[in-house]
Amino acid sequence: MTESHQGWPLYEVFIRARAGLDHKHVGSIHAADPAMAVEHARDVYTRRGEGVSIWVVPAAAITASDPDEAGALFEPARDKVYRHPTFYDIPDQIETL
């Protein structure tokens, strides 16, 4: 068996920094299998106690939006000002709203 030119597959790493927070993308590592990916993510990205939970995802499994479609995907949400609380005028006397 010869080593593929690609080496071990790439995994993207997501870390929960503290209980109650979302997992956040921090970078990637290489690993042969998922268990190794968790160990490598731990050794590379949490040496200073940066995390309490790790997700690893094969990079090949991620589907990302296309930057060229950013306009079509995200611009329509921009002009829906009525979705935001500041759109509504409420008299000052009503303090609890």
Partner: protein
């Protein structure tokens, strides 16, 4: 630790005609301090420049594990041994962050490693100097990591998002390196005569290589402008070098050590230290592969890679077997 090669290899700046509009939009985003992300359009030359610079930076971290790693087994106290292992480990971690950033540009780590091992890729020439005494481990932290920080802090604002984010992480850890190096030197300088001599010897050997880490003088560096326009680079080599000298000279004075530059003097008018002429012929020789340790460093990396091959293959083979077993169970 650090990037120095950014001014060395060939560069191309032009865009194809039909990309002109995209290029204009790209430059406008860079000018507006917008971050460029992996899937965004970018000029080929920008991509190539980044891959080269990030890879050189990553390789420097990896090769940079060796000179200090040389003292792990001989560290003179358990506290120092733990600090040094953690520090060398951080260099490896920085290499990993940077390979990760380079891979977002579409180049596999394996390819980058091959380029390092074949000698095609450069790494910072500073790591081709030997660590002859324990004080060298301190001098590297103090001077080499100190110089690296000068370079790296501006890179945290680099226009390419994944590189900038990797640099933020690295810079946070790098200041620990510089402080531990200085503290190590301080312990030696407050110690016995022999320890102080050891510290002075290390400063004598590492001062000029550290000063050269910033790369050729601006007068001889033709690429600075394009890199600055792309906001990959924020300051010129000489600006950063001057800052390093200004910071470091008082630190050496506090240690009671003498900087090995008889022409070094403080210019009251400019508020800066002026250093003597740099021997660029030595720098060129080391960059071309003829430094004291170029051969050993690459040989050590090649040996680790070759001797690790069966391990990497085993893990890949086991993962493939496991995947087949899972597929069979699912059926």
């Amino acid at each position: 630790m650090y990037t120095q090669g950014l001014d060395q290899a060939g560069y191309d700046t032009g865009y194809a005609q039909d990309d002109a509009a995209l290029a204009q939009r790209f430059q406008a985003r860079v000018d507006a301090e917008d971050k460029i992300e992996p899937k965004d359009w970018m000029p080929d030359a920008y991509r190539r420049t980044l891959v080269r610079q990030i890879a050189q930076h990553a390789h420097s971290e990896i090769v940079g594990m060796l000179p200090e790693g040389n003292w792990i087994t001989r560290a003179p106290s358990l506290r120092r041994k733990a600090i040094l292992i953690a520090k060398v480990q951080d260099e490896g971690g920085h290499g990993a962050y940077l390979y990760s950033a380079a891979e977002t540009l579409g180049v596999a780590r394996e390819t980058l490693v091959d380029q390092l091992l074949s000698g095609a890729a450069k790494y910072s020439s500073i790591f081709n100097y030997p660590t002859l005494t324990w004080a060298d481990a301190g001098a590297i932290g103090w001077l080499v990591d100190g110089a690296a920080i000068m370079n790296q802090i501006p890179l945290c604002r680099c226009s390419y998002g994944p590189y900038a984010r990797a640099m933020v992480r690295i810079c946070r850890e790098e200041s620990f390196h510089q402080r531990q190096g200085y503290e190590l030197m301080l312990a030696l300088c407050r110690g016995t005569e022999a320890q102080k001599n050891m510290a002075q010897g290390a400063l004598n050997r590492w001062w000029w290589p550290a000063v050269m880490m910033f790369g050729p003088s601006d007068r001889d560096s033709k690429h600075t402008t394009q890199s600055q326009r792309w906001k990959i680079k924020r300051f010129t080599n000489d600006e950063l070098r001057q800052k390093f000298v200004d910071f470091t000279v008082p630190q050496a004075e506090f240690l009671g050590l003498t900087i090995p530059d008889p022409e070094l003097r403080f210019d009251a008018d400019t508020g800066h230290y002026e250093h003597g002429p740099i021997d660029w012929s030595e720098f060129d020789a080391v960059v071309k592969g003829n430094g004291p340790c170029n051969r050993e460093r690459l040989a050590a990396r090649r040996t680790a890679h070759e001797e690790g091959r069966w391990v990497r293959e085993a893990a890949a083979a086991h993962a493939a077997k496991q995947a087949l077993r899972r597929a069979a169970e699912a059926r």
